[in-house]
């Protein structure tokens, strides 16, 4: 009983404040969690832009990565608050679609950040990193770095997890394409027959998994000399495993993300190169789009040839390779997150 009263009070307060701010634009930012530095940076970018444009921003987050329930509830709260736009990093890209439709019926525009919904056009717009391109950049860099030796490379793939989530597949397949491997079906990895591939293992995207996966693959074939990693924590774990075997110096590790500890690891020689993505830009662009839509009803257009608005990706390394554009570690550190 008390619970219901409290809920009603909250609902009243929320709708009350929305009514008061009738002429003010309201936006919601719903992230997967509120602890990951990537999302923290995103919130920062959104808040800055919102303050600048005089938009009221409400923040929500799931309790853990994959927490769909809380995200669906957050959308309902945003609808109740009369939000003009919702920036969403969906944990469950297909289940969330029905909630997204409800919000759209209530007159809000929904913009997917970082993770496209499935289907992608369920969102009014998507601001994301081109993860395939990110993989391609590090693949090209690795091939360029090895030169003629690329033909005899022994490559280990440290992927995200066994369910082959889209982001993991895109980066993995992008790397292969960039390195010059026939990727066969681009929608999955593991179907390639290039003899340079030693194997794939999964890391859950953290240090612990990176170390274990690297050890497993090294036990399978100690001659590995190129390591693709899904993100920088996994790369740090892989480095520990190689270091334990005295192999740290002669193996090339590449990664994706561009978090500050990861970029510092390039400086320290742990990682050779990483593809940096820009969560701050994603969020700022998202807020701008909501502002624009509230002004004149125009939606942002996707980048030409893509299903989404590409927020850019840069290769970070201090050992540039000819034919592959890159930025230095110093520049990378200026734009890093986390």
């Amino acid at each position: 009983m008390r619970y219901t009263t409290a809920l009603t009070a909250v609902a009243l307060a929320v709708s009350g404040s929305a009514a008061m701010a009738q002429d003010q634009t309201t936006a919601c930012l719903i992230t997967k969690t509120d602890t990951n530095p990537f999302f923290v940076k995103m919130r920062e970018g959104a808040q800055q832009k919102a303050d600048e444009l005089g938009i009221e921003l409400m923040n929500f987050a799931g309790q853990y990565d994959g927490d769909h329930e809380t995200q669906a509830q957050a959308i309902e709260t945003c609808i109740a608050a009369g939000a003009d736009g919702i920036l969403l990093l969906a944990s469950d890209t297909s289940s969330i679609v029905s909630s997204v439709e409800q919000a759209q019926e209530a007159g809000a525009i929904v913009i997917a950040l970082d993770t496209p919904l499935s289907p992608a056009d369920a969102a009014d717009a998507t601001f994301a990193t081109d993860n395939f391109r990110a993989g391609e950049l590090i693949g090209q860099w690795a091939a360029g770095k090895l030169g003629d030796e690329a033909e005899n490379a022994r490559i280990a793939f440290l992927d995200l997890n066994v369910s082959q989530p889209t982001v993991g597949v895109l980066r993995d397949q992008g790397f292969m394409q960039g390195f010059g491997i026939d990727i066969k079906d681009p929608a999955r990895y593991g179907d390639e027959d290039d003899p340079r591939i030693v194997g794939h293992d999964v890391t859950q995207g953290n240090e612990e998994g990176g170390r274990r996966a690297m050890e497993n693959l090294l036990a399978q074939d100690p001659s590995i000399n190129v390591v693709y990693t899904i993100n920088e924590p996994a790369a740090a774990g892989a480095y520990e495993a190689l270091d334990a075997l005295g192999r740290a110096e002669d193996v090339l590790i590449v990664s994706v993300d561009g978090g500050c500890p990861g970029v510092q690891n390039i400086r320290d020689g742990v990682i050779g190169a990483t593809a940096q993505q820009y969560p701050l830009d994603m969020a700022a662009l998202g807020i701008e789009a909501i502002h624009q839509y509230a002004q004149d009803g125009t939606l942002p257009q996707p980048t030409e040839g893509k299903e989404f608005f590409d927020t850019g990706v840069e290769l970070v390394t201090d050992e540039p390779v000819e034919g592959v554009a890159s930025i230095s570690v110093d520049e990378g550190l200026e734009r890093c997150w986390g």
């Binding site: 602890t35 274990r212 036990a219 740090a236 690891n265 986390g338």
Partner: protein
């Protein structure tokens, strides 16, 4: 005193002479095996472990059956092995601890952040981390033994509380291996390696094995150890026979927390870095090791060495299947099968005690 002794003697001799003997005599081979397994609960997992090493050794040859690969398994299971020691103690008291992984990771975060954020000398930061783990265990223990709440519910709650505190306190920031190496190398102490004829060991691995042996000895040969079993078997009966149930439970949960603290230290040694997202599945993995190790989830029965064997079995399967080139899913598949088989065998062994 001497009268008491002779009194027990009488009971013993009587037992030997009387009907109690019929259980094990003249019932065929199966029954003898049954008795043997009942008397030595760690035997089944040990046999499974040796058998799986032999099978993978035959399938993979020297790639698997080498000092390097076999000790790699030890390194890969060290965290789960240490945590499983804590889990075993708690399960022996008919409890369960879902918060072990969270305690492990928060202890490692406390060690790292105390040293780096507040500039506390690293060795003292390590002690603080261990103390914090013990404190978390004490909280669980108080809720279980004083408030009389079910351990499953208590630790379901503290798991979330501790994990959330871990993320909030650490801001989910990683402390890099290179920074730790430069200014607080003692945090990586458990990762120190040494080699004996191609076999690679770390202090963390040695710690895991010593911990298991010491606990196995203590559980068997000290009054405290017998109390742990007694409380797990039947807390009320134990209390009636003069066992201080509250103190026993508190000691078990606090010791469990301390062991998790050590697991956190070993975790830093293994990863090089302090990462708040690690050890996420240590609770489930430790329960898996304990169950495969033949320790009864109903409490009061099983050997802690079984948990070590259980953890090693999982490690052997993971590495063996990966070396065979199998999809990582098969590892989970077979571990699932092993859990069910282990519990089925446990039930079968229990029947003999009737």
């Amino acid at each position: 005193m001497s009268q008491d002794d002779s009194y027990e003697d009488v009971v013993k001799t009587r037992r030997e002479e009387s009907f109690a003997a019929f259980e094990s005599r003249g019932k065929g081979l199966l029954h003898k095996v049954h008795d043997l397994l009942h008397g030595n609960p760690a035997l089944v997992p040990l046999i499974v472990l040796l058998a799986s090493i032999v099978v993978f050794g035959l399938l993979l040859g020297s790639r698997f059956f080498s000092p390097f690969a076999l000790t790699l398994i030890l390194q890969q299971v060290q965290i789960v092995g240490i945590v499983a020691a804590a889990q075993s103690l708690i399960i022996l008291t008919a409890g369960i601890d879902l918060s072990v992984g969270a305690i492990t990771v928060i202890s490692s975060v406390v060690m790292g952040q105390f040293a780096f954020r507040y500039g506390i000398p690293p060795s003292i930061a390590v002690v603080c981390g261990l103390a914090f783990g013990t404190l978390c265990g004490a909280l669980n223990g108080l809720l279980v033994s004083k408030m009389k709440l079910p351990p499953f519910i208590v630790t379901l709650g503290t798991w979330q509380v501790i994990l959330a505190s871990n993320y909030l306190y650490s801001r989910n920031e990683t402390i890099r291996s290179q920074d730790i190496e430069a200014s607080a190398p003692i945090l990586q102490f458990m990762g120190t390696r040494f080699e004996i004829a191609g076999a690679v060991f770390t202090f963390g691995v040695v710690f895991m094995i010593l911990l298991m042996l010491v606990l196995a000895w203590a559980l068997k040969n000290t009054a405290w150890g017998r109390h742990v079993y007694a409380v797990g078997d039947d807390a009320e009966a134990a209390a009636l026979s003069g066992v201080n149930v509250h103190r026993t439970l508190m000691s078990v949960y606090m010791l469990g927390g301390l062991i998790c603290g050590f697991a956190g230290w070993a975790l830093i040694g293994r990863l090089g870095s302090v990462s708040p997202t690690s050890a996420y599945e240590a609770n489930i993995e430790s329960i898996t090791a304990v169950v495969i190790g033949g320790i009864s989830l109903f409490g009061g029965r099983g050997s802690i060495l079984g948990a070590l064997f259980g953890a090693l079995i999982v490690g052997v399967f993971s590495l063996g299947l990966r070396l065979l080139g199998a999809d990582a899913q098969w590892t989970y598949f077979f571990i699932g099968v092993l859990i069910i088989v282990a519990v089925a065998v446990d039930q079968w062994i229990r029947k003999v005690s009737a």
